[in-house]
Amino acid sequence: MDPKKPSPNNEPILREHSYDGIQEYDQKLPNWWLFTLYIAIVYFVIYWLCYYQLGIGSSDTLVIDKAMAEMQTARDKQMESINDEQLWALSRDPAAVEAGKATFMTPGMCVTCHGPDLTGMLSGAKLPGLPLSDQEWKHGGKPTEIFKIVRKGSPDITKGMAAWELVLGMKRVSEVVAFVLSHHKEGEPITRAADSPPATPGAATTAPAATTPGTAPAAAAAAPAAAPAVSPPPASK
């Protein structure tokens, strides 16, 4: 809106009128200032044209869906290498156990509910978590079963343990499991708790489906039923 009126001698025009003693010059608009406005407008038009009329670029949901799908594939691949023997082996690796202990003992993580000595007790008081130092396992005591509980949480999270996979990542989950297993011996007797959910023997084997193919379908059927309408992998924070 520049009137392009050439002022005779580049003197700024002082408008006659005075408002309560305030006068106004009528300087031309600074060019650089006008350009910032013009550039912003042109940028808007071009960007909108490209995105909406020419269909250039992906929508946000497409981008995120693709990224998450790729991550899921990578996770599935990681899972293939996990089995009971491998986890027992890890539990005898001091470096892995030490790393697992560090994660376990981090305030706000495992230690909060299971206690620093894994007994589920803290100075005589019962904590929310179950003891991990005895041989009774509510959801199964095989390494892969423990691994699954740490990853996915208990079948009904509102009544048990939270899911840690997305918080810790697969590596730290296996280290934590190694740390827990380091309190146990391979082949020791495993008892099931009185209130163990009946479906667990099947469900527990989901992780390495290849090891016990016979029970896999049951697990697959149980999984969706357990978490009906809660969205896919919600992590803890």
Binding site: L29, Y47, I64, R75, G169, V230, P234
Partner: protein
Amino acid sequence: MTSTAASKVPIEFNDKVVRQFMLASIIFGVVAMLAGVFIASQLNFHQLNLAEWLTFGRLRPLHTNAAIFAFVGNMMFAGIYYSTQRLCKCRMGNDTLSSIHFWGWQLIIVAAAITLPLGLSRGKEYAELIWPINIAVAVIWVVFAVNFFLTLHKRNEPSLYVALWFYIATIVTVAMLYIVNHLSIPTSWTHSYGIFGGVQDGLVQWWYGHNAVAFFLTTPILGIMYYFLPKAAERPVYSYRLSIVHFWSLVFLYIWAGPHHLLHTALPKWLQMLGMFFSLMLWAPSWGGMLNGLLTLRGAWDKLRTDPVIKFFIAGVTFYGMSTFEGPLLSIRAVNSLSHYSDWTIGHVHSGALGWNGFMAAGMFYWLAPRLWGTKLYSISMANFHFWIGTLGILLYVVAMWISGVMQGLMLNQVTADGLAVKNTFLDTLQAIRPLMGLRIIGGGMFLLGWIVMCVNLWKTIRSGKPVNEVREVALLQRGGTDTMGMKETFFNDPTACTFGAMLLVFGWIFLPPGADIASLICAIIFGFMAVRRFQKTSHTWALWYESLLHNYLPFTVLTFVAVVIGGLIQIIPTVTVNSAKNVEDRIQKLYEPLELAGRDIYVSEGCYNCHSQMIRTLVPDVMRYGDYSRLGESIYDHPFQWGSKRTGPDLAREGGQRPDSWHYEHLMDPRSMSPMSNMPPYAHLNTKPFDQKTLPRKIAVMRQLGVPYPPMDATEIKMKALEQGVKIATELKKSNIVVRPDSEMVAVIAYLQKLGQFEQPAVEDALSKKGQGVPFPLSPIIPDDGRRANGAQ
């Protein structure tokens, strides 16, 4: 104008009300800043959440409302009442209205100060006050408007000075924003549900919220700048032409920028894009104001050394320039993905609030006090001390928040080596920014100290003088060519025709179906060129038309209103009217059971949204940390929406079902028992109070009125349902040796938290499959996102 050297009459200005507003602003400034320093300290020292009514969640709204409405509100009224009388050469319209305005406004502030700590809140930022107070605000604002326009009506100065343009824009726009965003249906004397829910509420809230900044904290202060800065500098304003261009572009563009508070959320993308681009376009108009302020000082820079008033004004305008540069920057989607929900936003708003509002207020008060009390400023060196400690305080505050925001943002985005898990827990990032939150307390404290020094200085000044009401000999206006413009002259002329024509074509480009949109854009460009040519040829008549518009306050007001209303209409109407099947994407949230609804209302009234968002953005780090990104349908029944704007704690959109009830119980009783080093206030008081059963049936009835599909239930049924669910939760907690009353607020809140994130996949009515067929008229408008889908290109 037939001005035949009219007789001069003495006119006494109403300076009493100016003094009142000024003192109120100074006092409430102390209150607002004290509250700010206190809640900032609470973030680092959770022990300061001393009692239920002193928790961060309840006091933060008190701080923001006090700063905006009590401090800046009163300051704005002082400045407007002082300058309007002088620019109109007449006393304020009506003395009674002036008094009602002053006392009414203070009563509202007192009511707010009582209700907010009591936990009475609507749960929307800067719109927390409950509905009876909302009505009072609207009434008092109308009183102010009537008083102001009466003054314009009887003015003795034919032409409207630029300061008055900004005051007019303020008055009409704030009225519009406030009323629309506060529309609600009461469920009791202290509670109501807003008529908008979910995404609609989000859009309306930030249309309001962002423009509260624009039209409550910016335009009135720009008006004040245009009066007091040239007065203090005793120099002419830099450019009248710049005033025109930046005023009209500012008021038109600002309204559109609201959606930049909702980038990457479930808000439809076309709205996000409009929010971002209008924010970028807004940069120049904002800087127009800064330039006109700074360049007015050309030839008087020496005053910067000697006059504290000029110091404050210049620093204030500079901070305005800084934060209006930062604003567009933060609304770029890529930048926003890092900065949003972080302290960066807090730093941004404080460089505006402390730097621009705080310093403009201080400068104005130092200028006004000697004049209103007929004396000299008590101490220039104290004012200088105020200036320097205030400036250092702001810089410390803002820099600390920049670092904190960027650091926390980067930490939250870090992933483990395999890229499949987030590296830091939320608590880790909180610990990292604690020192910076500490620096903020110091910075804010320094600003407060400076303010208190000003209080002392002004108190001494006032004590040394006596209240003076200025009396001036004024030539009465002979009303010849003033206020005579009709509708035809207002709308049917080149400037308005060109503007509206171009605008219509641009909207056609945005909303018309493929093919017609491009045609419309081409027409818009051609039309634009023609308009510029026409302007070059006939600019003289354009200028004359504008000058005559300045002699007519009603047409000016109407055009201003038209300019500010367009953006809101275009953004809000499609979102409100679009059919719900399109609105929900593929998911629809499950209805809250009565107990969960009661719990939600407690969540809202405790102000949990001040620290917890419920919106997982379409960003990889967000999805990795909190779960699948939020869909529109998942908050469609939320009155009010609780998407949040700041994450001092983690997002809660999918909190439901992730932890045992007992965890929530322990965490609410003492957050640090479950999350060591957390800074959340304890909510043990939820355990001692029963939830509100009495109003629950009325609440559900109102929900039904608002279109939430509750089945018909009678009052006993609702209460029974709530209690049954309470008993269930209490029984479950009993297993963990926790004893709670099944009718306690605790149980209700746990029920609500466990419900968060539950949805069902609707049997989508064939709405989606129907799309594309039976379009009634080839050029009927479509939502740009749908147009893109129709293109087949995603």
